[in-house]
C-alpha cells in the first residue's frame, strides 16, 4: 500500500523537514534543527536506496500526482537515471550537512531549512516527467540557492550573488519562452507525450519546435555553466562558504541531467525534423569550455577559484562526451558525473578546512604557516587532487578512461583525446603547484593552533571514500551506468510506461 507512495518520499521528506525546522524551537533551536536535518538526510538516503533497488529490479515507476493520468496530469517518472541522481544528491547532502553542523550553520539564519528546500528542488527536478514542473522545481532550488549563496553575508558574496540572481532570472524568462514555444507547437508539456508529438511535426511548426529546443539548451547550458554562460560560476563558488560551495557541486549536474534527459527523450534520434538538435553545438562549446576551464585553473591565485574552474572543466568534459550521442558515451558521462560530484564537494570542504587552519592567508596559493593538523589535511588534499586530476589508482582515472574509450574512433578522438589529456596535464601542474606551495613551502615558526573538529574531518573522509568505493566497485557501477545509457537510448520504453500504453 505505502510502497507506491515511496516515489514521492525524496520530495516530501525534505519539504516536511524544512517546515519543521522553521518552527520556533525555544531557547536553543539550532540543536533541534541539526537533528531534524540529519534525520531527514538519512531518511532520504534510505528512500532513494529502496527506490533504486525497486527500479533496478522491476523497471521504471510512474507516480501520477493526485491520480491525474499523463499527459493531462503531472507525473513523476522514476527511471534508473532519475533515481541514481537523487541517491547521489542524498548521499552528498549527509556529510556536507554534518560538516556544516560544526558551526558554519550559525553564520546566518535558517541555513538548515534552506538546505532542505534546496534538496527538495534538486530531487523534484530529477524526478519530474513534466517540463513545466521541471521549471517550477528549478525555481525552488534556485531561490534556496540564492539565499544559501548569501549565507554568512559580506560585500563580496553580495556582488557574486547579485550576478547569479540576475543571470538566473533572465534564464528563467528564457525557460518560460522555450516552454511557451514548445507548448504552442505540440500542445503538451509532458516530456514523453512531447517526444511523440515533436516527431510528427513538419515545416514551420518543426522549425518553431527546433527554436524552442535550442532555447532550452541555452537555459540548461546556463545552469550547467557551458562556455559563454559560465561566467557567474567562478565568482559565486569562490565567494560563498565552503559547505554551500560543496553542495553546489550537484547544481551544475542538474543542468547536465536536464540536457541528458530532454535531449535524448524529446530531441533524441527519433524526433524527426528536430532529431539530435544542438549536439553539434554541445560538442564544440563543450571542448571550448574544457579549454577555458584549463586556462582558468592555471591562472587562479586562490584555491577556491581553482576548484571552481575544475567544476567548469568537468562540465565541459561531460557535455562534450554526451554529444557523441551513443550508449557508451552516455555511460561514461554517468560514471564521470558521479565521481566528479563527490570529489569536487570533498575538495571544497578540504580547502575550507585548510583556509580555517591557515588563518590570514586563507585559501590563497601563497606560503603560509603550518596547519595544526598538517599531515591529515595534506593526505586528504593529495587524495582528492589525485582523483580529480585523473591519475591512477582512484576513480578519476577510471572515469577519464571510460570517456577516452567512448571516443576511440574517428574524428572525435582527434579532438577529444588531446583536449582532455591536455587539460589533465594542466590540472596536474596547477594542483601540484598549489599543493607544494601550501603544504611544503610553509613559513618557519610555530604551527597554527586552530584545529578542525574530528567530525568535520570524518565528513570529508566519507566524501573521499566515495572515490575509493567507485574504484573498487568500478565494474558493477559501470554495468549500472550501461543500463542507464541503454534506457536513455530506448525512449519508447519510457514513453510507454508514462503514457500507460493509452496511445498505443
Amino acid at each position: 500500500m505505502w510502497q507506491q507512495h515511496l516515489v514521492i518520499a525524496p520530495i516530501l521528506i525534505p519539504l516536511l523537514a524544512a517546515l519543521l525546522q522553521l518552527l520556533p524551537w525555544g531557547e536553543n533551536p539550532q540543536r533541534y534543527r541539526r537533528l531534524i536535518g540529519i534525520v531527514a538526510c538519512i531518511l532520504t538516503i534510505s528512500a532513494a536506496v529502496t527506490l533504486l533497488l525497486q527500479v533496478h529490479q522491476y523497471g521504471m515507476q510512474v507516480y501520477a500526482v493526485g491520480s491525474w493520468q499523463a499527459p493531462f496530469g503531472i507525473v513523476l517518472a522514476v527511471d534508473r537515471l532519475a533515481t541514481v541522481m537523487v541517491l547521489l544528491s542524498a548521499l552528498l547532502s549527509l556529510p556536507i550537512l554534518a560538516y556544516a553542523c560544526y558551526g558554519e550553520d550559525n553564520l546566518g539564519s535558517h541555513f538548515h531549512a534552506l538546505f532542505q528546500f534546496l534538496l527538495l528542488g534538486i530531487n523534484g527536478a530529477f524526478f519530474t516527467g513534466d517540463l513545466f514542473n521541471l521549471f517550477v522545481f528549478f525555481e525552488v532550488l534556485l531561490i534556496a540557492s540564492y539565499a544559501l549563496l548569501m549565507h554568512g553575508g559580506g560585500k563580496l558574496k553580495l556582488r557574486a550573488c547579485l550576478h547569479y540572481v540576475l543571470l538566473n532570472l533572465a534564464g528563467s524568462a528564457l525557460f518560460l519562452i522555450a516552454l511557451g514555444v514548445l507548448y504552442g507547437t505540440t500542445g503538451t508539456l509532458n516530456m514523453a507525450d512531447m517526444s511523440g508529438k515533436i516527431a510528427a511535426l513538419t515545416g514551420d511548426e518543426a522549425a518553431l519546435a527546433r527554436a524552442g529546443g535550442m532555447l532550452l539548451l541555452v537555459v540548461f547550458g546556463l545552469k550547467a555553466a557551458l562556455l559563454p554562460l559560465y561566467f557567474w560560476l567562478p565568482q559565486a563558488y569562490t565567494m560563498t562558504t565552503g559547505t554551500v560551495a560543496a553542495m553546489f557541486a550537484i547544481m551544475t549536474k542538474v543542468g547536465v541531467y536536464s540536457i541528458l534527459r530532454v535531449f535524448t527523450l524529446v530531441f533524441g534520434e527519433t524526433a524527426g525534423a528536430a532529431s539530435l538538435l544542438g549536439y553539434e553545438w554541445l560538442w564544440w562549446l563543450g571542448l571550448a569550455t574544457l579549454l577555458i576551464g584549463a586556462v582558468g585553473v592555471l591562472g587562479s591565485r586562490d584555491m577556491r577559484m581553482v576548484i571552481s574552474y575544475l567544476v567548469v572543466i568537468s562540465v565541459g568534459t561531460m557535455l562534450t562526451t554526451l554529444s557523441i550521442a551513443n550508449e557508451r558515451a552516455v555511460s561514461a558521462v554517468m560514471y564521470y558525473l558521479i565521481h566528479s560530484t563527490f570529489v569536487t564537494a570533498a575538495l571544497f570542504l578540504v580547502v575550507d578546512v585548510m583556509a580555517m587552519q591557515r588563518g590570514k592567508t586563507a585559501s590563497r596559493i601563497v606560503s603560509g604557516r603550518k596547519l595544526a593538523q598538517h599531515s591529515v589535511v595534506a593526505i586528504m588534499f593529495f587524495a582528492a587532487a589525485i582523483t580529480i586530476i585523473g591519475m591512477p589508482p582512484l576513480s578519476g582515472f577510471v572515469g577519464k578512461l571510460h570517456i577516452l574509450e567512448a571516443a576511440r574512433v574517428g574524428d572525435q578522438a582527434n579532438w577529444l583525446w588531446p583536449v582532455v589529456l591536455g587539460s589533465t596535464l594542466v590540472i596536474m601542474v596547477a594542483l601540484a603547484r598549489a599543493g607544494s606551495k601550501m603544504f611544503w613551502h610553509t613559513l618557519e615558526g610555530k604551527a597554527g593552533e586552530t584545529r578542525s573538529a574530528n567530525g568535520q574531518l570524518v565528513a570529508v573522509t566519507v566524501l573521499l571514500s566515495a572515490a575509493v568505493l567507485l574504484t573498487v566497485f568500478a565494474q558493477p557501477v559501470s554495468a549500472f551506468t550501461d543500463a542507464i545509457a541503454n534506457d536513455l537510448y530506448q525512449p519508447q520504453r519510457y514513453i510507454y510506461q508514462v503514457l500507460g500504453g493509452s496511445t498505443l
Binding site: F132, V136, E139, L142, I143, Y146, M150, G152, G154, K155, L156, K157, L158, R159, C161, L162, H163, V165, L166, L169, A170, S172, A173, L176, I177, L179, G180, V181, Y183, G184, L189, T238, M239, T240, T241, R301, D302, R304, M305, A362, S363, R364
Partner: protein, 114 residues
C-alpha cells in the same frame, strides 16, 4: 489582433533587453520585471488567441485553452517572488558597497577574502 499582440510582446522584450544590458542594478531589475511581463503575455498566447471562448469543452464554439492561463498564473507568482528578492538584493548591494554598478572595477584586489 495577432499583430497588435505580437508587437506589444516584441516591444516589451526589446525594451527589457536594452535595460538588462545596462551596467547598473536598478535598470536591470526594471528590465527583468518587463521581461517577465513580456514572457507572461507570450505564454498566454501559446493557447492561441480566442475571443469570447470559455475554457470548458462543449459550452462555446471557440474554446479557450485553460492550461496557458494556469501556467501564466504560476509564472506570475514565481516571477513576483524572484523580482522581490532581486530588488532587496540590489538595495543591500547599494547600501553595503556604496554603488549600484553591477561590476566592481577593483574587485581583483579582494580576491581570496570571503
Amino acid at each position: 489582433m495577432e499583430a497588435l499582440f505580437a508587437i506589444t510582446v516584441g516591444m516589451l522584450t526589446a525594451c527589457s533587453v536594452f535595460l538588462i544590458l545596462r551596467g547598473r542594478s536598478f535598470p536591470i531589475v526594471v528590465g527583468i520585471t518587463m521581461l517577465s511581463y513580456a514572457v507572461n503575455l507570450f505564454l498566454f498566447s501559446t493557447g492561441r488567441l480566442v475571443i469570447e471562448g470559455a475554457p470548458i469543452i462543449g459550452n462555446t464554439k471557440p474554446i479557450a485553452d485553460p492550461l496557458p492561463q494556469a501556467l501564466v498564473l504560476t509564472a506570475i507568482v514565481i516571477g513576483f517572488a524572484m523580482t522581490a528578492y532581486a530588488v532587496i538584493l540590489a538595495v543591500r548591494a547599494r547600501g553595503e558597497i556604496g554603488s549600484d554598478e553591477v561590476n566592481d572595477l577593483d574587485h581583483s584586489d579582494a580576491e581570496g577574502q570571503r
